[in-house]
C-alpha cells in the first residue's frame, strides 16, 4: 500500500540530512507506526509520501501510485493530518468539514458513517470557529476532515503529541475502529508506549531506521538480560548502580531502574567469561547492601519498546 525505497532528503544545501536511505513497506489495512523523537525525520517522510515534498533520491509509491508522476491521484485518495493544526481558524467546525468534503468532490452525508463516532463528540459545537476550539477538539475535527473523502490511506503526523494520557488512549481507540474499516494507517509518535498499538513499527532516530518489526518482534530481539532494580530511595540507587563496576547501563523507568550488566553482549561478551552478566547481577545486591541500600531488590523483566530504543541508540 505504501512503499519507500532508499529515500533520502536533506535541507539547507545538504547540511541537514533529514531522511537517510529509508526503505519500508506498509501492507493494505495495516497500522504502521513511525516511532521516534523530534528530529527523527518523521514529518519529512509524511510530506514526501503526501507529495508535498520531493525526495533527493529514491522511489516511493502510495496505493501503487508514484509520488512524483501521480501526485494528483495520490492527493485525492489519501487523508493527511499534519502535526501542526492546519484547518481554517475562522471557519466553524461544520464549515471546515463542508469545505474539505467539497474540495474532494463529496458530501458530509455520503461518508458520514465513517466519521460519525468522532464527529458526534464535537457536533454540539459545530457553529464554533476552529480557532476557538480546545486542543482535543481540534484534533478530532482535523481527523474528521482527513477522513471525509473516505481515503484509502490515512497519514497521521504526531496526532497525540502534547495530549494527556486519557485523550491519547481515546484517540488510539478511534484509530483501531478506523483500521477495522480497512483503512491503511501510517502514524507517527514520540511516545514509545504507543508502539504496542501498531501492527508494525519503525523505530527511527536522526533520519535513519534503527529497526522495523512487530512490537513483539522488537522486544524479542533485545539481546541482553534486563533487570528492574528498586529501593526506597530511587535517586540514591541510580547513583550507586552507575558506580557498580558490573553495570553496563542503568536508566530510570518510573519507580524502577532498568539495568543491564557487562559480559552479556550478543557477540558473546568479547573477553568477558561466559555468565559474566549473571554473576554481575548476583553480586549487585550484596554490593548495594554495603553501600547502605540493604532494601534494594532486583528481578529479571521483559523489556519494553523504550528499552529497545535506548539499546539501539547506544549500539
Amino acid at each position: 500500500m505504501i512503499t519507500l525505497e532508499h529515500i533520502d532528503k536533506s535541507y539547507n544545501k545538504g547540511s541537514i540530512q533529514a531522511v537517510k536511505d529509508v526503505s519500508f513497506k506498509v501492507a493494505p489495512g495495516e497500522m504502521f507506526g513511525l516511532i521516534g523523537p523530534d528530529g527523527a525525520g518523521k514529518t519529512t517522510q509524511f510530506r514526501i509520501l503526501t507529495t508535498l515534498l520531493l525526495p533527493d533520491s529514491g522511489h516511493a509509491t502510495v496505493n501503487g501510485l508514484d509520488i512524483i508522476r501521480d501526485l494528483d491521484k495520490i492527493r485525492s485518495s489519501v487523508g493527511y493530518m499534519p502535526g501542526r493544526f492546519s484547518l481554517y481558524q475562522d471557519l466553524t467546525i461544520e464549515e471546515n468539514l463542508q469545505f474539505f468534503a467539497t474540495v474532494f468532490g463529496t458530501t458530509i452525508k455520503e461518508n458520514y458513517n465513517l466519521i460519525k463516532d468522532i464527529y458526534q463528540q464535537i457536533e454540539p459545537f459545530k457553529d464554533r470557529r476552529a480557532g476557538k476550539l480546545s486542543g482535543g477538539m481540534k484534533q478530532k475535527l482535523a481527523l474528521c476532515c482527513a477522513l471525509i473523502h473516505k481515503p484509502t490511506v490515512l497519514f497521521l503526523d504526531e496526532p497525540t503529541t502534547g495530549v494527556d494520557v486519557v485523550s491519547r488512549k481515546e484517540f488510539w481507540d478511534m484509530l483501531g475502529r478506523l483500521k477495522k474499516e480497512g483503512i491503511t494507517i501510517l502514524v507517527s509518535t514520540p511516545y514509545m508506549d504507543e508502539a504496542s498499538r501498531c501492527d508494525r513499527v519503525a523505530l527511527i532516530q536522526k533520519g535513519s531506521i534503527l529497526s522495523i518489526d512487530e512490537p513483539a518482534g522488537i522486544v524479542r530481539a533485545f539481546p541482553l538480560d534486563l533487570y528492574a532494580a528498586t529501593a526506597p530511595n530511587t535517586h540514591l540507587l541510580l547513583r550507586e548502580i552507575r558506580e557498580y563496576p558490573g553495570t553496563d547501563s542503568c536508566f530510570a523507568f518510573g519507580d524502577a531502574l532498568h539495568v543491564t550488566f557487562k559480559g552479556d553482549r550478543a557477540d558473546g561478551g568479547a573477553g568477558v567469561a561466559a555468565g559474566g552478566a549473571a554473576v554481575a547481577a548476583d553480586r549487585l545486591l550484596p554490593w548495594l547492601a554495603e553501600k547502605g541500600l540493604p532494601d534494594a531488590r532486583l528481578k529479571k523483566i521483559t523489556p519494553g519498546i523504550e528499552d529497545c530504543f535506548i539499546h539501539l541508540l547506544k549500539s
Partner: protein, 246 residues
Amino acid sequence: MPTVITTDKLTKRFGSFVAASELTFTVEKGEIFGFLGANGAGKTTAMRMLCGLLKPSSGNATIAGFDVYSETEKIKRNIGYMSQKFSLYDDLTVSENIRFYAGIYGMSLPAIREKTRVLLDELQLRNEAKTLVRELPLGWKQKLAFSVSIVHDPEIVFLDEPTGGVDPVTRRQFWDLIYSAADKGVTVFVTTHYMDEAEYCNRVSIMVDGVIAALDSPATLKKQFGGASMEDVFYELARNAKRKGD
C-alpha cells in the same frame, strides 16, 4: 524545610468560567514538585499565576516570599522558567545566549563573565562557547537551556513540559540535571505528559476540571488509588473529567 511556594484558595475566573478553583498547597525548598493534569484542567492558568504573569481572581499565594498580587516583578526576578517551546536563541552562540539571559536578569558584566566561565566548565562546553546553538546536539542544547534558566540562581525553576518530543536517553539525562539542581536546594516545579517522569518527583499534584484532585508522593498516590503506576492513578482521576482540550 522552609516553604518557597504557598497558595491558599488561589482562584482564577474568566467571566463565569472558573479555570482554577481554590488551589491550596505548599512546596518546600529543594523539592521536585510534579504538576500534572488533563488538557484543559487549568495547569497553564495556575502556572501563569504562580509566575506573576496573571492576576488571580481571589485567594492568596506567595512565591519565594513574594506576593502574587503586589510583587509580580520581584517574583519574575526570583524564578527561572524553561519550556520545550521557548528556551534558547538558535542563531546566537552558546556564550551569547548565557550573556543575553544573564543580562535580562540584571547581572553585572563581571558576574556574567564569571558565571559564563563556571557554566561552560560545568557543562563541558568550553570548546563550543562560540558555536551557534542550532548546531549543538539536542542533549547539549537541553542542558544549556536548563542552566540558562537558572543562570541568576533563582529559588524556584518552573519547567513546562521540558522533555516533550525528546529521545529517551536525552530525556533521562535531563532528569539527572533536575536532580542535581534540587540537591543544590533549587525548588523544581515541573509539568509533563510522560507518566514515568511523574514517578521521579518528590510529590505530585493532579489537576482535574480546575481543582487539585490529588496531591501526594507517587508511592502514596498509587496506594491511595490502587494503581500499579502513576499512569493508572492519572487515568483513574482524569477519565471522568468534564473539561477536555487545552
